[in-house]
Symmetry: C2
Subunit: 394 residues, 2 copies
């Protein structure tokens, strides 16, 4: 069991195959705490949401949460009342296994939109998973695999918290709506540190706004995005300000590393792209500019071609809806200034292009209109992405 | 000279090669009226705009306009003060040829961003074009060709106005920022109908909002988009309400047909897609939903694969930022209802897919929250688009 495969104390997980996926791959995961948890959640802002989002959203933030059940292979989205009943039934089935109330269980689903869940398979799957729970790295890995759709690698991050005897472990899957019909970014973060309900929700929201909300594959927001935080430490224990900050930093770090793993596993991607925007009045302004740059197919294809085509980057910033003058903006790509306070510079095209061929591209858009900044992550857009998403047939 | 290649009276055009394009293809167009024109313009909303946009924008709406000069192969964008001086100089050079004031001339440029114009070539090109003006279809076609970048066909539309003795002729090029470094949608609409300055601007804005502003290739707004309307009829002549409406309808029709030509010529595109959104409180709401659907790479790649993957369409509507409940929405693709008031329907996948293979796809998103509606046009996203935009190197 490596450092990367540790669960916080009193957490157990399982991942099994119950037949939702025709391929026979594992498709049902259970995350269970032997102690009551404070639970927080952040959910998709899409107006069309999966049934599990409706159910979990109304149950957090909360105390007394004990389990999360996740199936892959079917998103249980756009399935009207029947889907909602199925999502509630999933939590009831888990509650029966552990003698809990239904409301102590949260639920997520990821996969194809618009199909009803095979509840017979889910029912026997939950019973099977409950029998196979374990607290070691192997069981954690199994759970991380069971939530995958077209991910090629399971995504798990574990860190110890400096200063207090606690661990933060997170798993995640997907990359926005990257996959054929598989719509979802899901993540479960577990810690044995003590947190109040209000602190858990606040810390999770701040962390997600700087991590999961800063990644984009193609800008298509899923119906099912969900990040859950479970903390099973004693909520009446008080942390010093320093320890609390250390815990928050660790949770944000786990979220950031999981986010980056999603981008590195994005379908068809050949480049990992970091977009830093700084010098605007608010973090929201910076985020808007970063989003326009990250989501432009012309910026993405320039990166695919290792082309330092700065006109595409600057013009994407220009339509982001944030006011600025051209003379307010400078652009640095992989450390080379291409555009300075509104003026095109002579630079060594071949050298910048060569640096992009490493597969790592960092763009800095520097404004001089404020002190806020943000870092976002994206990938390029390749013919392989088109093939994967166009050649899929229902 | 066919109906499609007619100029309104007293308009002449020319299109020649002056060497801005290394390929030797034609790259300079002149549009001249022998009578004073009322002129209106609509320009890119990008914060980063080409120098010609700054110059033309400050000169319209206006009376007394006599000419438009356009070069392709170089956008004269992100070129600071020097670019601005060059754009003004272009209008002065045209004015010298026809004994006009510089302010009677408008200017557009399209092509690579961030390079200075070769003013020696432009100078001799303008003199050459002035000598080659003509009012027949051949000269109109030459001008339409000289504004092309990666367009594969020139785009010209001519219609007579019902009820009055007038013609409306428009030319256009490009498709948003579809081309490697060639950023621009440009259009010049000419008519010999009488229009006041205020009417010309109002009619153009309304027409553009329902036509050019309703197309998208990949959602990347260019630095140089410009649509100009020149009307050289007697502005003191008064049209009946009926005739004025007929003129407005004809101008909107010319804009719509040019917009559709741009989408049909979009790089790599294999499908022409019509997106109708209806039943929301405002036209702006409808536009926002249509834009989210049109710009989603997942919707586009589903169309590439002739896949009636309605979950992608419905979920794109869901993140458009317009409030609705799932039960408010129905979706019809090529006449088949796939999703009705929030419920997935059983439909014949193979039949819908077969209808998509014609290359024509019409999606209707019907809400029940109002009476506004809009129609937008887009294309699919293919591996050929990626190839064209990634394999280009600066």
């Amino acid at each position: 069991m490596t450092e990367n495969l540790a669960l916080p104390s009193e957490f157990e997980t399982a991942g099994i195959a119950c037949g939702v996926k025709a391929s026979g791959k594992s498709d049902l995961a259970l995350f269970v705490s032997r102690r009551d948890c404070v639970a927080a959640g952040v959910f998709t802002q899409n107006r069309v949401v999966g049934a599990p989002v409706i159910v979990s959203r109304e149950r957090v933030p909360a105390t007394g949460v004990r389990a999360v059940v996740i199936n892959s292979g079917n998103a249980n989205a756009c399935t009207c009342e029947r889907g909602l009943n199925d999502a509630r039934r999933m939590t009831a089935l888990v509650a029966e296994q552990f003698d809990l109330q239904e409301t102590q269980v949260l639920v997520c689903s990821t996969g194809v939109i618009g199909h009803f869940l095979p509840m017979d398979k889910i029912t026997s799957g939950i019973a099977q998973a409950a029998r196979q729970l374990g607290g070691d790295g192997e069981h954690l890995q199994a759970a991380a695999k069971a939530i995958m759709t077209t991910d090629t690698v399971p995504k798990v991050v574990t860190h110890r918290v400096d200063g207090i005897n606690a661990t933060v472990t997170g798993v995640a899957k997907g990359a926005a709506m990257i996959a054929p019909n598989m719509a979802t970014m899901l993540s479960v973060i577990m810690t044995d540190a003590p947190l109040t309900q209000a602190d858990a929700q606040a810390i999770l929201q701040r962390s997600v706004s700087r991590t999961f909300n800063c990644i984009s594959v193609e800008g298509h927001t899923s119906t099912s995005d969900t990040v859950l935080l479970l903390a099973n430490g004693d909520p009446s224990a008080t942390l010093s300000d320093e320890d609390r900050q250390s815990l928050e930093d660790t949770i944000e770090r786990v979220c950031r590393e999981l986010s980056q793993k999603i981008i590195r596993d994005a379908e068809g991607a050949e480049h990992f792209v970091t977009v830093k925007v700084m010098g605007l009045p608010t973090e929201e302004d910076c985020h808007q500019v970063a989003k326009a740059v990250c989501d432009s197919p012309l910026v993405k294809t320039a990166i695919t071609g290792n082309d330092p085509n700065w006109g595409r980057i600057v013009s994407a910033a220009g339509y982001a809806g944030v006011p600025f003058q051209e003379s307010d903006l400078s652009l640095i790509v992989n450390g080379v200034v291409l555009y300075e306070t509104g003026r095109p510079l002579d630079f060594d095209d071949a050298a910048v292009s060569a640096s992009m061929k490493t597969g790592e591209v960092t763009m800095e858009l520097r404004f001089r209109l404020g002190t806020a900044e943000i870092t976002c992550w994206t990938c390029d857009l390749t013919a392989e992405y088109i093939r994967l998403n166009a050649d899929y047939t229902t």
